[in-house]
């Protein structure tokens, strides 16, 4: 698993994360879930541009396991087609675990998958590749809610 960095007590899953900015007063934290390392690297570069701390998972299961281990992110960029566990299942499972992070579906599949993916609990859905403007919009949502 690629998840790294400190999983300190502030990410205790028992703590109610009701505010949109789950890591108030800190850098925004994002989890990039994608099986393609080129995509992960580009998304990491995009988020770093806006000062967002990034973590990575190679499939949906790694994302779910990270949360079970107590990780908590403000923003999750979720791919759809991944081995082991796809993005739709992972999003559903995270929502079932009461994860309230902003989950953004990012796929290169067509619109036909959009509805089912959104219904799994996405906040937003974008086609790959993400751009600087889209990431700016996403990051600004946290400023608006602060």
């Amino acid at each position: 698993m690629l998840i790294s960095g400190k999983m300190s007590s502030c990410y205790d899953i028992n703590v109610s994360c009701s505010n949109k900015n789950l890591n108030i007063g800190k850098k925004l934290k994002a989890l990039i879930v994608d099986d393609d390392r080129v995509v992960r690297m580009v998304h990491k570069g995009l988020l770093k541009k806006f000062g967002v701390e990034t973590h990575e998972a190679k499939n949906g299961e790694e994302a779910v396991l990270a949360h079970r281990a107590g990780a908590c992110f403000d923003l999750i960029l979720m791919d759809l087609d991944m081995p082991v566990m796809n993005g739709r299942q992972a999003t559903q499972e995270l929502r079932d675990m009461d994860v309230v992070s902003l989950i953004v579906g990012v796929t290169s599949t067509g619109e036909e998958e959009k509805e089912a993916f959104m219904n799994a609990g996405l906040d937003y859905y974008y086609q790959k590749p993400l751009t600087v403007d889209v990431v700016r919009l996403l990051v600004e949502k946290f400023k608006d809610d602060a």
Partner: protein, 151 residues
């Protein structure tokens, strides 16, 4: 060659890559992400793209060489190639993926082999072009100049 001339050659060359459709706006996005804190970002992402594409093209060649082609597997490889090529802005490689997935859905081995040849050709072309671009960048830096920013 003096710096100014190298910079002009760079602008001319990269413009031709956009005009001829080898690269699209996503490549400009990558360039925007490169700064002092991330000085080699574009080369690093593109190198990863080269490595992964070559692995995927090899996997595709082997998958299509089987007596019973696993089209689901072929489709998964093409899907991945589509994702990574669109992430770096390798437009002509990305554009080859759509017809490739269509013939894959039809379980058309001949069609898949044709698409594979085409995608290999486009990949080698864009790889060559990007390597030339990076060499030009290195020459500019070695001559003490800055890489021109494209609009």
């Amino acid at each position: 060659m003096e710096v100014g001339q190298l910079q002009r050659s760079f602008i001319e060359y990269i413009s031709s890559l956009f005009n001829e459709g080898f690269l699209d706006a996503q490549f400009s996005q990558l360039q925007q992400l490169q700064d002092e804190s991330n000085p080699d970002f574009v080369v690093e992402v593109v190198s990863l793209f080269f490595e992964d594409s070559e692995r995927l093209l090899n996997d595709l060649t082997m998958a299509l060489d089987q007596p019973n082609v696993d089209f689901k597997q072929v489709d998964a490889h093409v899907h991945q190639l589509k994702g990574s090529s669109s992430s770096v802005g390798a437009q002509r490689v990305k554009n080859c993926c759509v017809p490739f997935r269509n013939v894959c859905e039809e379980q058309n081995t001949e069609g898949c082999l044709r698409c594979l040849q085409q995608i290999k050709q486009e990949y080698l072309l864009v790889k060559n072009k990007l390597q030339t671009l990076f060499e030009l960048e290195q020459q500019i830096v070695a001559a003490g100049g800055a890489i021109p920013m494209m609009q």
